[in-house]
Assembly symmetry: C2
Homo-oligomer: 144 residues x 2
Amino acid sequence: MVKTLRESAKEMTAAATARLRHAGLRPTRQRVELASLLFKTCDRHVTAESLHDEVSDAGVKVSLATVYNTLHQFTQAGLLRQVIVDSSRSYFDTNTGDHQHFFLESEGMLIDIPGETIAVAGVPAPPPGLAVDRVDVVVRVRRS
Amino acid sequence: MVKTLRESAKEMTAAATARLRHAGLRPTRQRVELASLLFKTCDRHVTAESLHDEVSDAGVKVSLATVYNTLHQFTQAGLLRQVIVDSSRSYFDTNTGDHQHFFLESEGMLIDIPGETIAVAGVPAPPPGLAVDRVDVVVRVRRS
DNA sequence: GTGTTTGCAAAGTGTTTGCAATTTA
DNA sequence: TAAATTGCAAACACTTTGCAAACAC
């Protein structure tokens, strides 16, 4: 049972469409293209620009503004998670589960660390009137 | 032994000047003013804009560009530490020791958590060729 | 005096937005 | 057809930079 390229592409499109419908988002051409790229493989980390480059390189026309909007819509819909590791760029992670990151600043590279791997103990109670939303751990690394 | 306001101000200026000299920075009027504000009290968290507002409110004229430059010079000199919690703003912390933070995003507020309080266990070895630089923990909180 | 630092205004970067044209259901 | 979405270009917020004037030593 060998699949042609066209068949594989069609399957990915169908999967992306289903995923978008399920998330309550209209499966427009642009969203389907972006979702196909994002969820084609396991865990991915993208910036708006990297994703725009990628989609452009694939010969698909999607404006940068739409990439930004789409990344936020996907994030709101729970398909993506925003990762804050850099004060000048936003990263988005296709892994929305509980996990942490290595971050290689010089190359803007993120690497997932599974959620069970790291244990954070001793987080104090927040000041009165505040509640913990989540605990982010960023392991900053450099070339050695 | 009561000190006049003028005497206190003079002492602060002297302390700031000494600190700058020690860090290898020329104690210019602007740097002394900013250092006096920053290191007057214990632990402070500022953005370029908040510090510029503060210095302006104090009736001192320092341009925003100089505030940016100074924050970076102080950081390089080890007097400040940059804290990355927001992808659109840079925060600087007068506490340069080992510690972590609560971050209340809605108000851009940072609160220190002493270094010994939180224990992070199970940080995996980074991929070959990479070395851990430091481990940042951000406890994101919200009003409850 | 000489090299450093400042302030200004301009440029730069990443991101958001208003709105007419297009697309989806 | 009605409502949602897109693309463009303009606007934005934050930050950096080039350079002449001012300053520290």
